[in-house]
């Protein structure tokens, strides 16, 4: 088992420009079953001489029974692409695009509520399940190892850092989920923790939080009340000054609850094992797993 993506994943990639094409290729090379591409000006062509390209998502889904959509379109068109994929009935939509206007996301979130589709992202690295060689995103596949630790994170490269710390210690991952660094996104920590909680293969969880918002506090509540699996967590941005955006649109200290210290306290209180620095994640997880 695993969460969100696995051997049954049939991938549709929308936005096959330079960047999208590069990553679609890497996903396929890792082992992902990409069944369709979408590009309005290239109908009838094939991606890498193998995957049919369609003009519209609707056509692509109808023809290929794709069940996961991956979005690389420019930020200005990302909200529209998300809705196109949701309206085409894709149950899982993963949006990599960075810089989607927040008021677009206000509308997208409200629109997809109750649609039956789940959105991951935007501004995220995607999801990978090493055990089934299923990579839907931009993460470097090679650092991952099949295993039993679920990883969820607001950040891209910090996730790779954590995965690297795990893999170099021989600790494999069930699935690694990047939920993205934007203040409004499709899936929260709690959503992913629910999935990990229900996943038989996941025995422990790494939660990588950062300053800004209160999603880590919500996660802490879930950990305390409903998660019977050990959690290792770190919160980055302890050294960030208040009121300044740290790269991610969501990473900004706007009040006490946005502080790293507040989030760490909540997670510790909830029983999570806190890695004092982001360099200690692997170490702490190793200790936790060793009992």
């Amino acid at each position: 088992m695993s969460v969100l993506v696995d051997g049954n994943t049939r991938l549709l990639v929308q936005g096959l420009g330079r960047e999208g094409g590069y990553h679609a290729s890497a996903c396929r090379a890792y082992g992902t079953n990409m069944v369709a591409g979408v590009h309005p000006n290239r109908p009838g062509m094939k991606f890498e001489d193998a995957v049919p390209i369609f003009e519209t998502v609707k056509d692509a889904v109808a023809e290929t029974q794709a069940n996961v959509g991956l979005i690389f379109v420019p930020a200005s068109g990302a909200a529209d692409a998300i809705i196109e994929q949701v309206n085409a009935g894709l149950p899982l939509v993963i949006c990599i695009s960075e810089g989607v206007p927040v008021q677009d996301m206000v509308k997208v979130r409200a629109y997809i509520e109750g649609s039956g589709s789940r959105l991951i992202g935007p501004n995220c690295p995607g999801v990978i399940t090493p055990g089934t060689r299923t990579k839907i995103g931009i993460m470097p596949g090679a650092i991952h190892l099949p295993g039993k630790v679920g990883v969820v994170s607001r950040s891209g490269t910090l996730t790779y850092e954590a995965v690297d710390q795990l893999s170099t210690r021989g600790i494999g991952q069930s699935s690694v989920v990047g939920i993205g660094g934007d203040p409004i996104n499709g899936t929260t920590f709690v959503d992913v923790l629910e999935l990990f909680a229900a996943d038989d293969e996941t025995e422990a969880v790494v939660l990588l939080g950062e300053i800004g918002g209160t999603r880590e506090q919500e996660a802490a509540e879930f950990i305390a009340d409903k998660l019977n699996k050990p959690v290792v967590s770190t919160i980055v941005g302890q050294s960030a000054p208040p009121g300044r955006r740290m790269g991610h649109a969501g990473a900004i200290v706007t009040g006490p609850s946005a502080l790293a210290s507040n989030k760490i306290a909540a997670l510790r209180e909830a029983g999570a094992h806190i890695a004092e620095t982001p360099a200690d994640i692997g170490e702490v997880m190793a200790a936790v797993l060793a009992g």
Binding site: P101, A110, I143, S155, T159, L208, V236, G247, T277, P278
Partner: protein
């Protein structure tokens, strides 16, 4: 993107929000003429991208046109230091000369997107002129809060409810409701991240006017607002911030830091800063070179870091993914060479093409020390800073 008060005032007026009569002046003569047109009595306000202008001497009441000119002269061309600007302050390139308003009541209203509720959120209070955070803390019962519908937006009855809750006089409730509707329209149509009217005033004759205002526009949405993009005033940012923005880099200068940080990815950048702090040294900046950076951009990032006079060492931490380590390494070498910087560099590289990147750095003639991983990086920096190697 921040706007100056005079720019915000014009946008408010365009959206039908009443504002005081005022003129933007870039010379003492223009300020004099403006004050004269208001009969001499006016308020002269330094235009900088920072709050706290009043306490910092940037807002002055004048009672004659000559005095307006004098105040303008004393402000224009200087840097105004407020509690929000940092020690060098922000350059004053002009002043807003505004007619005096007969204020009966000072109120507060603001709109922002609430990330937890995922929708535009309105806050209002009868305590105008005060920081809303202070109101929220001290008298939360006085805070009026409304989460708007994410798809439809604000309904007129909700604007009226707010006007009534603000204690607007009955005969002005209609115009105040219209003002609030227009503020909301402005917020959504300009992709603002913040619209704040503080104070919103009721005048002696029961007009409702936006006396002072703050509008921030979302950088990520500027692609659909070319007219607003033109209102950017990069001079207000520090020199290094301006260069970073031009290069498309996410960069924040920190006070009292000595370790320049160059990282790919915002989360890893924060992690790197945190690690630096934990090792007993202070990070000098946040810098995320982003995913698709090429060598020139990396080089410019490096130069921005070392052009900060506080920086004594540079920590390069790259986890190759979209950005390949070899490109990052070449960029660093190029930056070090072009800047002529002799500062010590500590480098960690993992992920895509890491070995190649490390080799490029090792083979160059820059002053570099290597660390194997994140936990090794910070002590190495501390050691390097202490003069070791």
């Amino acid at each position: 993107m921040k706007l100056h008060e005079y720019q915000a005032r014009e946008i408010l007026a365009r959206f039908g929000v009443p504002v005081p009569n005022a003129t933007y002046a870039e010379t003492p003569e223009a300020a004099r003429a403006a004050a004269e047109s208001f009969g001499g009595k006016a308020v002269v306000k330094a235009q900088v991208h920072a709050g706290g202008r009043g306490l910092a001497g940037g807002v002055k009441l004048v009672s004659s046109a000559d005095e307006a000119a004098d105040v303008a002269k004393s402000l224009i061309g200087t840097n105004l230091v407020t509690h929000q600007t940092g020690p060098t302050g922000a350059p004053v390139n002009g002043v807003l000369v505004a007619e005096l308003t007969d204020i009966k009541t000072e109120l507060y209203i603001s709109i922002l997107v609430d990330a937890e509720l995922r929708t535009p959120f309105i806050m209002a209070s009868q305590a105008g002129g005060m920081d809303i955070e202070k109101v929220a803390e001290e008298t939360p019962e006085k805070l009026i809060r409304l989460a708007t519908d994410p798809v439809h937006g604000l309904w007129p009855y909700q604007a009226r409810d707010i006007a009534i809750a603000l204690g607007i006089p009955p005969k002005s409730v209609r115009s105040a409701s219209a003002l609030i509707m227009n503020l909301f329209k402005l917020f959504t149509e300009t992709d603002a991240t913040l619209v704040e009217i503080n104070p919103l005033v009721v005048t002696g004759d029961d007009q409702v006017i936006a006396l002072d205002s703050k509008i921030d526009i979302e950088d990520d949405a500027l692609f659909r607002h070319p007219d607003l993009e033109k209102l950017a005033d990069p001079a207000q940012d520090g020199e290094l911030e301006r260069r970073a923005k031009d290069a498309g880099l996410a960069y924040v200068k920190l006070d009292d830091g000595s370790v320049g940080c160059m990282v790919n990815g915002a989360g890893l950048a924060m992690a790197t800063m945190d690690i630096t702090l934990r090792a007993g040294t202070n990070p000098a900046n946040f810098l995320d070179v982003g995913g698709g950076a090429q060598e020139d951009k990396i080089a410019e990032a490096f130069k921005i870091i070392v052009d900060d006079p506080d920086v004594k060492a540079v920590l390069v931490n790259i986890f190759g993914g979209i950005l390949r380590c070899d490109i990052a390494a070449r960029g660093v070498v190029q930056g070090a060479t072009e800047s002529g910087s002799l500062l010590p560099i500590v480098a960690v590289m993992r992920g895509t093409n890491a070995e190649e990147g490390l080799k490029i750095l090792a083979d160059s003639n820059i002053n570099v020390t290597f660390a194997d991983n994140l936990s090794g990086a910070a002590p190495t920096v501390a050691r390097v800073l202490a003069g070791g190697n």
